[in-house]
């Protein structure tokens, strides 16, 4: 990501065009991780999404997660996180197949998610 792009996104004009609902989604770590994985895989079942959010979160705290923790993540995704991401226009959910798919994202939103991902990766590398 070049300095020019970062100025473009964060100088206020373009950020102002992003819906507040997107920032609300981005304020929660489990929702951000779900988005990072959906950017990579485009479409995942709710179960797969629960697996990777659980595993990724465990790895980030140098730990592990049990069946019980995964059940809590799964329930929160289903009842809370995925509906919020749907409402923000970031993903589509197909109840019949319990599949979450990345929605077509405007460039500004895509850039926001990717830059947040880069920031979190750097933060993790600096910490370890």
């Amino acid at each position: 990501m070049s300095g020019k792009d970062e100025r473009d996104l964060f100088d206020g004009r373009r950020l102002g065009q992003i819906d507040d609902a997107v920032f609300t989604v981005m304020s929660d770590r489990h929702r951000r991780v779900a988005l990072y994985f959906l950017l990579e895989y485009e479409r995942m079942t709710l179960a797969e999404l629960a697996d990777v959010v659980t595993g990724w979160t465990a790895a980030r705290r140098n730990g592990m997660a049990t069946r019980e923790e995964r059940a809590r993540v799964s329930s929160a995704l289903y009842h809370h996180h995925v509906p919020e991401m749907v409402d923000a226009g970031l993903v589509d959910y197909d109840a019949a197949t319990e599949t979450v798919a990345l929605a077509p994202l405007p460039d500004d939103v895509l850039e926001l998610v990717e830059q947040t991902r880069e920031y979190e990766n750097h933060e993790r590398r600096d910490a370890s």
Binding site: V52, G55, A58, A59, R61, T66, R70, R125, S128
Partner: protein, 237 residues
């Protein structure tokens, strides 16, 4: 029934491990035996440094482990059974997530750490029966102080199994079983019945097939532990 048949039985309890990691980060799963573990590799999001595994049995998700944490399993801390550090140790959860998973190339230190986790459960419960088999006189001798204290300071019924020509040690309050040939002396095992408390039953069974390379498993499956204990009592007393 033989001890090797217990190993074969675990070969049939299938596990799937999905590795989310960069290509050069996957060597840590080479420990596991392809006879009972299917390993799949998947991509992480770009630039992500936090690799992890997710583990499944026939009932679904069992657990997830960060790759950094898994590396700690390969170089675990060695506590003594009565150390308080066990209680807060994440190592215990890791062992529970990876139970009934056959490993092919664990080293002595890794199995010693797992053995200590079993002995710590026995120490905390303080009752029930602990049966322990050694692969050498040196191994038995090295652990003598541990078993002396377990036998002396708890109500545990401690049984140790070794070869007849290994000679002493004699441990007061413990029962020593000696066999001249066969599988006793050829396997490293611990099995603990937790005095009937199924949540604390545990066992380890391993065989050294190359110098400091062990093949085997550990388990928290109460039925499997009972089966192993029953076999040892019936066969060797």
């Amino acid at each position: 029934m033989t001890l090797s048949e217990f190993l074969e039985a675990v070969e049939h309890t299938h596990r799937t491990i999905v590795v989310y990691a960069d290509e050069d980060d996957v060597g840590v799963v080479d420990q596991f035996d392809t006879r009972n573990v299917t390993v799949e590799h998947r991509r992480l999001p770009p630039g992500d440094p936090s690799g992890f595994l997710t583990i499944y049995d026939r009932d679904g998700f069992v657990g997830a482990v960060g790759l950094d944490e898994l590396r700690d399993l390969l170089a675990p801390p060695i506590y003594r059974p009565w150390d308080e550090a066990f209680v807060s140790s994440g190592y215990r959860t890791l062992l529970e997530i990876l139970d009934n998973t056959l490993f092919t190339s664990f080293v002595r230190r890794q199995l010693l750490a797992t053995s200590r986790e079993i002995e710590n459960r026995a120490w905390r419960v303080g009752r029930g029966t602990l049966r322990v088999g050694f692969q050498s006189f040196a191994a038995m001798h090295a652990q003598q102080p541990v078993y002396e204290r377990l036998a002396a300071e708890t109500e545990l019924d401690v049984h140790l199994y070794g070869r007849g020509d290994w000679g002493p040690p004699e441990i007061p309050d413990a029962t020593i079983h000696r066999e001249d040939a066969g599988e006793i002396g050829a396997y490293w095992f611990l099995a603990y019945d937790a005095d009937g408390d199924e949540t604390n039953e545990c066992a380890l069974l391993a065989e050294e097939w190359l110098a400091d390379q062990y093949y085997g498993f550990w388990t928290y499956d109460a039925d499997l532990v009972d089966h192993l204990l029953g076999y040892l009592v019936e066969t060797y007393g």
